[in-house]
Symmetry: C2
Subunit: 84 residues, 2 copies
DNA sequence: TACGTTTATGATCTTTAGATCATTTGGAGG
DNA sequence: CCTCCAAATGATCTAAAGATCATAAACGTA
């Protein structure tokens, strides 16, 4: 069962998906994470750059975490389209 | 075989480790990634915030990638101390 | 369609990361 | 100790992110 997303391809997508699954509005997530609704809108839309701190705050509030691993391990298809 | 690190705990550490394993100086990594040596120094030391773009550039140059996944899957011990 | 809620945009201001250069500290060998 | 290279610090400047407020566009639903 796939439970990963590649960054940055689907970062905004993953965040939006996770937020919706928890029935949170951007405003809700904003209060929980300390990140502003307007910023969340941008992040979810993949518009503009973002600070690591910001995405970490969002992911934490959504009970998601970030991992690094070596690119060579595993094939692309192992992790693709998780949050289609 | 463990091949993950948790972010942000070991991000700088992971980058430094990966860089050293490839026998690259910070200056080398700088040219390859387009990120300045001074910035790399900060990132590796975990000093100050960083833009996502910057860490992605570094990770790409080191053949590392970033993944998101739900925090609940798997136990901490599965991924701890990979880049001790 | 009209209302209420959610999301997107737009403007301004503040803060901070990153570029850039110069300097310094720290190690490893000679 | 003295070089040489690598890494860290420090100052200044520019660009970009995020805070903040206000408003507009979208979307669902009664």
């Amino acid at each position: 069962m796939k439970n990963f997303v590649r960054i940055p391809r689907d970062l905004g997508h993953a965040i939006r998906q996770a937020r919706r699954e928890k029935n949170l509005t951007q405003a809700d997530l904003a209060t929980r994470s300390g990140v502003w609704q307007e910023t969340i809108s941008k992040v979810e839309a993949g518009r503009g750059g973002t600070k690591l701190d910001t995405i970490l705050a969002l992911l934490a509030a959504l009970d998601l975490e970030l991992l690094v691993r070596t690119r060579s391990k595993g094939t692309a298809s192992d992790f693709d389209n998780i949050f289609d």
